[in-house]
């Protein structure tokens, strides 16, 4: 049943997000075209408009993915559509898992579209070499493998945002238990969940710092981390975020399984 639920959740997101993907790529192409034409005032103005449109659409892809995930979660679990969702012969775990994977998939798709659009708009061999050289100068200085550096960097950002989305889900579940001002309480509980998850990250880093004086420097002074400690911190951050996402998702499932009260 999870695959069936996921199929319809993905269809919903495709219907709502595809226009942003198309526009993002469209403005990336126009950006490339106008900057490759012989420059004149008009061409330059249109090119700049194109750049502005492209970046606003790309920002929109990220924001819309997050907002749509929350809205879809709220609408199908607590609003009118809930009359259908909760009368389907599926478990509450499947309902939650479907929303979880839908968000995960569209977050990855959005990320790919953003990278693809930037690639279309700005790729030249020279720029590519410049970028590689910049990254490699950073990673060489840090004695880091380039690929591992990029993957870790992207993974931490990705996990951080995904954690925020899940805090939003938990906020909605707890907020909709209240008999009034459900949206206000959802925002409040989501915010508290996010603060708590960030506090857990800090606490765990602090605990590791008790055994590694270099990491403890993060809490006691302004000295930059040494390479070895930076590596430990990056790996630690990935592990902690994965753990928090798992914990948050178990918490959401547990709370949802306690039952709902649909107006």
């Amino acid at each position: 049943m999870l695959t069936k639920l996921l199929k319809y959740d993905l269809k919903y997101m495709i219907k709502n997000m595809s226009i942003f993907y198309i526009l993002g790529i469209f403005f990336a192409i126009t950006t490339r075209i106008f900057f490759s034409l012989e420059q004149s005032v008009i061409v330059n103005i249109i090119g700049q408009i194109s750049v502005g449109c492209m970046f606003s659409i790309l920002a929109n892809i990220l924001i819309n993915t997050i907002m749509r995930s929350w809205i879809r979660f709220r609408d199908s679990i607590y609003k009118d559509e809930a009359y259908l969702t909760h009368t389907l012969p599926v478990t509450k775990n499947d309902i939650y898992n479907s929303k979880f994977f839908q968000t995960l998939i569209f977050f990855i798709v959005g990320f790919v579209i953003i990278i693809l659009s930037l690639f279309i708009a700005y790729y030249t061999k020279e720029r590519w070499l410049e970028l590689r050289s910049l990254i490699s100068s950073i990673t060489t200085g840090l004695e880091f493998n380039t690929t591992l550096f990029i993957v870790s960097f992207i993974a931490i950002i990705f996990l951080e945002v995904f954690n925020a989305i899940q805090c939003g889900f938990l906020g909605i579940i707890l907020g909709y238990r209240k008999s009034n001002n459900k949206i206000g309480f959802s925002v409040l509980f989501g915010f508290i969940a996010y603060l708590l998850s960030q506090s857990i990250v800090l606490l765990l880093v602090f605990i590791v710092g008790l055994f590694d004086s270099s990491i403890m420097n993060l809490f006691t002074n302004n000295i930059l981390l040494d390479t070895k400690s930076l590596k430990i911190l990056i790996v630690l951050a990935v592990i902690i975020y994965l753990g928090i996402i798992l914990l948050m998702s178990l918490l959401c499932r547990r709370e949802l399984n306690k039952g709902v009260d649909i107006e």
């Binding site: 049943m1 069936k4 199929k7 319809y8 919903y12 219907k15 009118d80 559509e81 809930a82 009359y83 259908l84 909760h86 009368t87 389907l88 012969p89 599926v90 478990t91 008999s179 306690k258 039952g259 709902v260 009260d261 649909i262």
Partner: protein, 234 residues
């Protein structure tokens, strides 16, 4: 030996904050009955129905469907028509039909298509382009196209003209499968009186009467509508 009831509710209570909406509900419904859940507006009919359908969580007490607690198995055998439109309005009628066929093994696509034609509904139309009344008819088609054991219809006649009411009642009567039971919640008693086997009167969150419809009529020498009006006189 105790006969297993299709629906059995024991000591059911539901409160929102300090306000108690349902108080100590006990009732059972056997197979093959058409039951009228009758009460004034705000008596607790919809709350009771929502508890049977897992849309509300009981404060205390149990709801059992064919001997099992409300859950995946009960949802397979209950076909529920809420009192509001709940379908995703971005979908076409054909997509909604596919959706129901995907999730309910007992959904009869051919029957749904036939009912849509009978009710003059376009299968290719988007729900957002339909009037509220048309959307309600689509929902009725979806519910009655399932081969369920228990049909629960919450105010199926609310907001429609008398001619359509008769048509809806006929659709219900001719489309629920043999051996199944139907619970119809309404305050328009005179319209459904003719089809009821049993009646349940609910007032201020309490069941005040559950009886065989004919026995009640014979005992009181009045129609159910008249009995209701007498009992709930303001």
């Amino acid at each position: 030996m105790n006969e297993m009831k299709l629906l059995e509710i024991k000591d059911l209570n539901k409160s929102f904050d300090d306000k108690q909406i349902l108080k100590d509900i006990n009732l059972s419904i056997s197979e093959g009955k058409i039951v009228g859940l009758l009460g004034k507006n705000g008596a607790g009919k919809t709350t009771l129905i929502k508890l049977i359908n897992d849309l509300l969580t009981p404060t205390s007490g149990t709801v059992m469907i064919k001997g099992e607690k409300v859950g995946v198995e009960s949802k397979k055998v209950i076909s529920y028509l809420p009192e509001r439109t709940y379908l995703n309005k971005q979908m076409k009628v054909s997509e909604v039909i596919d959706y129901f066929a995907d999730f309910y093994d007992n959904f009869d696509i051919e029957k749904a298509k036939k009912l849509l034609i009978d009710l003059d509904l376009d299968i290719n139309q988007k729900l957002s382009k339909m009037s509220k009344g048309m959307q309600e008819k689509v929902q009725l088609v979806l519910v009655m196209s399932r081969i369920a054991d228990l049909y629960i219809l919450d105010e199926p006649l609310g907001g429609v003209d008398p001619a359509t009411r008769d048509y809806i009642l006929d659709t219900i009567l001719t489309n629920f499968n043999d051996g199944a039971s139907v619970i119809i919640s309404t305050h328009l008693i005179s319209d459904i009186e003719r089809i009821l086997d049993e009646v349940i009167f609910i007032d201020k969150g309490k069941i005040i009467l559950q009886s065989d419809a004919d026995k009640l009529r014979n005992k009181e020498k009045l129609s159910i509508d008249e009995i209701f009006r007498r009992m709930f006189k303001c």
